[in-house]
Amino acid sequence: MSSDYVCPYCRLPSDASGSTCPNCGAPVHVAELRDDEGWVEQPPIRDMARIRFGQSQCQIAGTYVPVAEMSLAQGDQVYFSHHVLLWTDPWTQLARGRWPKAGTGAKLECRW
């Protein structure tokens, strides 16, 4: 990971050699669009961009109604609201906490 590139959106040291930031999925080296009031336009996350978290990964698919596809490593968990669930592998473990959780080497996909 090159140490001199900092993603302007998540502000973490990032990898400038890829096309998207592995921490937040923002495109790399896209000109920042800032209006007179100081609002910065968030660039759309590219189709199939990958985002790492812990030992797991999230992939964003689709451009109209994007889907977040999670590949969860053993022991990793995510939580989400009930209505966003789209599909899961049959071995995905879902449990109700204060929020529904999924984990343990699972793949699942959520939509907003």
């Binding site: 199939m48 689709g62 109604v65 596809e69 009930h82 599909w87 899961t88 049959p90 109700r96």
Partner: protein, 263 residues
């Protein structure tokens, strides 16, 4: 020169083409497939033309797509009444009642379709945002589609339906899910669907299973079985069912669900 295989419909195109002649999918862009094997439905280029038999079709518009057909004399397509957008005067329209009309009416399904016969041009749309999915149908291969997703088909495609008990959106409920069943007779047929949001397709191997939220299910090959499977207790879902799909064959999902109330 080598022919170019379409990654969506597998038609072998002649060299030099930039879009598939049978389904319109771009041939010169990389296939987008997620890590889990979901392939994005091809984003058809504005006005890309494709052809099945003597019927030519173009998809126009990106947000609320329109399917425009050019029909040769005697060629026929059919579609639901409310999807008609415009037609040329030479195109002849006739209504056709479907089998089990009463049962379909009770279920809130369309009980009649319009047949349009060429020569001339005609356009249909579902008046909704999303993607048009082009599925060239090989003869005798059945495809099952969720209700209200059908956009248009060529006349040689048979249209029937089946009901899957206990399958409805996890959050809106309902009496079950009706699937339209399409099969092309003798020659290759053309089937167009409308998927809300983005559409993804995955090919399941023999015995391979996947659980899909029923509102996200869009279509499947007939050999893929679909069953309601209760969501385990303790997850916060009440009386909800997954759609369990078991291969072999293709499964299509949509990333957005629009609920339709039945009378």
């Amino acid at each position: 020169m080598e022919r170019i295989a379409c990654s969506w419909c597998h038609y072998e195109n002649e060299p030099g083409r930039t879009s598939c002649g049978t389904c319109g999918a771009p041939l010169d862009v990389a296939n987008t497939v997620s890590e889990s094997g979901w392939q994005s439905a091809p984003r058809l280029r504005e006005m890309a033309e494709f052809r099945v038999g003597n019927i030519t079709c173009q998809i126009a518009g990106q947000v609320v797509p329109v399917a425009e057909f050019t029909l040769a004399a005697g060629d026929t397509i059919f579609f639901e009444q409310h999807t008609l957008l415009w037609k040329e005067r030479t195109v002849c329209l006739t209504g056709k009642n479907l089998k089990q009309r009463g049962q379909r009416m009770i279920a809130g399904m369309p009980h009649a379709v319009i047949e349009a016969q060429g020569p001339g041009r005609i356009a249909v749309t579902r008046d909704a945002s999303g993607e048009v999915v082009v599925l060239p149908l090989h003869p005798e291969v059945e495809t099952d589609v969720r209700g209200h997703a059908f956009l248009a088909a060529s006349a040689n495609v048979g249209y029937d339906f089946i009901r899957i008990e206990k399958l409805a959106s996890m959050f809106h409920g309902g009496p079950g899910m009706y699937l339209d069943r399409f099969v092309a007779n003798q020659a290759q047929g053309l089937l167009l669907l409308h998927g809300y949001g983005n559409v993804f397709q995955r090919r399941l191997g023999p015995g391979e299973k996947i659980l899909v939220e029923p509102g996200g299910f869009l279509y499947k090959d007939a050999p893929v079985t679909i069953h309601p499977v209760p969501v385990p207790k303790g997850t916060g879902f009440r009386h909800a069912n997954w759609a369990e799909l078991i291969g072999p064959g293709r499964v299509g999902i949509q990333s957005m669900y629009v609920h339709r109330h039945t009378s």
